[in-house]
Amino acid sequence: MVDEIMLVAIDENINDSDIVALQDRLAEEVHANNAQGIVIDISALEIVDTFVGRIIAQLAGIGVLMDAPTYLVGMRPAVAMTLVELGMTLPAVKTARNLQHAVTRLRASR
């Protein structure tokens, strides 16, 4: 937590059950910490398939529902290309190039 913005950095070695667990925890954490925004950093991820892509979209969905705008940052070029090819353009998810940009935009929107 920095300045009421919650940072979620996804680890390189995250597995399916971890990411599902993260999904379960996120809503509670947002509520408990009264977070005004969420930044999900996926720069460590080399592979994002439709399963992980869907979870990420849902994480953002949870954020939006709890009135905590959610930014996705740090997606690698190869991952972006692959996701688009898979037809997952994540239209509902806000994106930023890096953490700093996301935080700036979150502050500006408040």
Partner: protein, 105 residues
């Protein structure tokens, strides 16, 4: 693929495609066996993923985007086909499914 000097994007594409297929095998096929074969002369990696699940009834439907028999997004099979350089599905309802895909380095 590192040994073949593949670019990051080629690796990512193939590994993602395999991830889709393997996940299908796990969820719908009740576990899957993966065989990896590296062909140096053509700089290609071949991957076979076999399961003995229920099989696919309607192949054209399964490959089309947006179709799912379970709870997924329905982009796995068609997406993997787009990501791979070669793609082939053999499926016998009641016996199982074999997916073979290839990625050039």
């Amino acid at each position: 693929m590192d040994a073949l000097g593949a670019k990051v994007i080629r690796k990512t594409r193939l590994v993602t495609a395999v991830s889709e297929i393997f996940r299908n095998g796990l969820i719908y096929g009740g576990g899957a066996l993966v065989l990896i074969h590296c062909h140096n002369a053509t700089r290609t990696v071949w991957i076979d993923c076999c399961d003995d699940g229920p099989g696919i009834e309607d192949m054209a439907l399964a490959l089309s985007d947006g179709y799912t028999s379970g709870s997924g997004l329905g982009r796995g099979l068609g997406g993997a086909k787009r990501l791979a350089d070669a793609f082939e599905v053999l499926s016998e309802p009641g016996i199982g499914t074999q997916v073979r895909l290839a990625g050039r380095a």
